[in-house]
């Protein structure tokens, strides 16, 4: 299963500056029949989901399965899932930039795009979940006649601030990195396309004085995005941890959520890169070694997530708290044995066991295994949020309150539609803007010398 282009991750691509431009600009060539068929199919699925949402808006939130005691269901699960997917994009682009991990260069643009699109997808879910979407602007602090402001002591308000800041900063960071590459694409285009690219890159010319500002600003972006990525999923975890629901009210949640977010995001980057490098014929730039490096990080995040799962059980058992024990260790109602036992085992096996297969070099260098395991990890990560949200809410303090949550067809349709929306955005991006950074790949290879070009 292993394929060629298996040079180690530290080895720069054997390309000149001109060849880098040629190969990456070639990815922007007009899409073929398969490309547009894929775009149309995804757009169709997305529209079916929009119809389901319209039906929910028209009839009311009762068409969703969320009801007492499960006031949070598929919408919040999927919101947390997509925010989590976003995280490894920032990890790869900002954290690995600060660590000077040069292997990030061929893959970081894809990861950043994934971040932006995942946050855009996530941002839809609170709007869907609130039901009366026309009142959604009440979430934001704005001057109003009633002199009322949102409660800034509430984690839900922090979440609004954190996720909107995260989207803004991720988008600016992503766009900032794109500017020199759009300029390079502009100079290899003609007609209307050239004009559009020129507007998008602000007429960038790459003067030394401009690069001087650019370099410093890029470092600042990486510096602020790094703590931001930790803060955002910590804040998302506080949506749960600040409440007193058993299974949620725990101090391990922030690092547990951040590790889980990076775990799922890394898996999604692998899922996206495998078709991208094949379709765009850039296997010599995004090599197996880069995917292998991502797989190795996935082993680490999988172990952290597994540790967090384990420690939850230990704390429940050690605390002597009967409500915590009901959620975790009770032989009838505990997560591994209770009504939702299947979701617990999907979560545990997909997130903790499958990534360990990457310990074998043959598995982590096999494209087919990488692709399958990366998808399984994301199935597991969606179920992680299902386990956290559903099991805790359905068995809270009073047995009289307990219930069993079943998602409705509307929720499932909107869930599927969110994937279509995400992949649609990604497909449109990959064909219209450089999905691999020309500037950073050039920094990996030797600068052009007069001797070689005079040949």
């Amino acid at each position: 299963m292993s394929e060629s282009h298996a040079a180690p991750v530290s080895e720069p691509p054997a390309l000149s500056y001109r060849e880098i431009n040629r190969d990456i600009v070639a990815t922007l060539a007009p899409g073929g029949k398969i490309y547009w068929m894929s775009v149309l199919t995804l757009f169709g699925i997305f529209n079916i989901a929009m119809l389901a949402w319209m039906y929910q808006i028209f009839v009311g939130l009762g068409v969703a399965g969320i009801t007492h005691p499960n006031g949070w269901g598929v919408y919040i699960i999927t919101f947390v899932f997509w925010v989590g997917i976003a995280h490894s994009g920032t990890l790869i682009s900002a954290v690995l930039f600060l660590f000077r991990a040069r292997w990030r260069m061929p893959v970081y643009r894809t990861a950043e795009a994934m971040t932006v699109f995942a946050v855009m997808t996530a941002g839809l879910f609170p709007l869907i979940h609130v039901g009366r979407v026309w009142k959604a602007y009440w979430l934001m602090p704005y001057p109003n006649q009633r002199y009322l402001w949102p409660n800034f002591k509430s984690p839900l308000m922090w979440d609004v601030l954190a996720v909107s800041t995260y989207f803004t900063i991720s988008f600016l960071f992503f766009y900032f990195g794109l500017i020199p590459d759009i300029a390079a694409a502009r100079d290899r285009s003609t007609g209307l396309r050239r004009k559009i690219y020129n507007v998008l890159c602000f007429g960038w010319t790459g003067r030394g004085t401009h690069w001087q500002h650019y370099r410093k600003a890029y470092l600042i972006f990486a510096g602020i995005a790094t703590p931001l990525v930790v803060s955002v999923h910590s804040v998302v975890s506080w949506d749960f941890a600040m409440s007193i629901i058993p299974g949620w009210h725990t101090t391990i949640f922030p690092p547990y959520f951040v590790a889980g977010a990076i775990h799922s995001g890394l898996a999604m980057v692998i899922t996206l890169l495998i078709p991208l490098r094949r379709v765009f014929n850039v296997k010599h730039i995004i090599r197996v070694a880069h995917l292998e490096a991502l797989a190795l990080v996935t082993i680490a995040t999988g172990l952290v997530v597994g540790y967090a799962y384990g420690i939850e059980f230990f704390i429940a058992a050690y605390s002597g708290n009967v409500y915590e024990q009901t959620i975790f260790t009770d032989p009838t109602w505990g997560r591994p044995f209770g009504p939702y036992w299947w979701s617990f085992w999907i979560m545990a096996i997909c997130n903790c066991v499958f990534p360990l297969l990457f310990l074998w070099r043959r598995v982590r260098t096999s494209i087919a295994w990488l692709f399958i395991i990366s998808i399984l990890i994301n199935v597991g990560m969606w179920f992680e949020r299902f386990v956290i949200i559903i099991t805790s809410l359905s068995t809270d303090y009073i047995p009289y309150n307990w219930g069993y949550y079943v998602p409705s067809w509307v929720e499932i349709t909107i869930l599927i539609g969110s994937f279509a929306w995400f992949f649609l955005l990604f497909l449109l991006f990959a064909k219209h803007l450089p999905s691999i950074s020309m500037t950073e790949i050039k920094e990996l290879v030797p600068a052009p010398s007069s001797k070689e070009t005079r040949r």
Partner: protein
């Protein structure tokens, strides 16, 4: 009166030689268009360090952290604000007591404080680069060459008109295509 001469270099070695020679002859108004932020070229160029970090990023961060702490405090009803500012414009002075906490409870405001700091640092940094680089350049740069975003370097020298022949000679000697 000044004259601007540019030379297009196919390689970095010739460019670095030309920069050193020009600096040696006292020509300090130099700039280079290049496809990557090349450290060696940037170090060789006599250009001042960027003020984007303290002029824009720091200012944005300080504004953001101030806003992130003070706005929630104001919205929750700062008592001293209520005494001096009419209730109609100070957030109403409703005094939203939540969870039995003090009206102005600083620990929860760390989150808006931090998020707003990051938000405004980012926005101001982006704007800073746009302003300092004079972007958007709607009509382009007369010395720009399409090859500068691929694998060539354009050295731009601003000098006195009487020195332009000398500059052109230095550029040509270093292997540049003089414009």
């Amino acid at each position: 009166m000044t004259a601007t001469i540019s030379g297009v270099f196919a390689g970095r070695d010739g460019l670095l030689d030309a920069i050193e020679t020009l600096k040696g002859k006292g020509h300090m108004a130099l700039d280079v268009m290049m496809p990557v932020p090349d450290h060696e070229v940037l170090d060789a160029l006599p250009i001042p360090p960027t003020p984007v970090n303290w002029l824009f990023s720091l200012a944005g961060g300080l504004f953001g952290v101030g806003l992130g702490f003070m706005f929630p405090a104001w919205a929750h009803g700062l008592s001293f604000v209520n005494e001096v500012v009419p209730a109609s414009i100070n957030g109403g002075g409703f005094g939203q007591i939540t969870g039995g906490k003090p009206l102005v409870s600083w620990p929860p405001f760390f989150v808006p404080g931090f998020e707003m700091m990051v938000l405004f640092t980012g926005i101001l940094t982006f704007l800073g680069v746009v302003v300092l680089c004079g972007l958007p350049q709607r009509h382009g740069d007369p010395h720009f060459d399409d090859r500068a975003t691929e694998d060539h370097y354009v050295l731009i020298v601003t000098t006195a008109p009487e020195s332009s022949a000398e500059v052109a000679r230095i550029l040509a000697a270093a292997g540049a295509e003089v414009k």
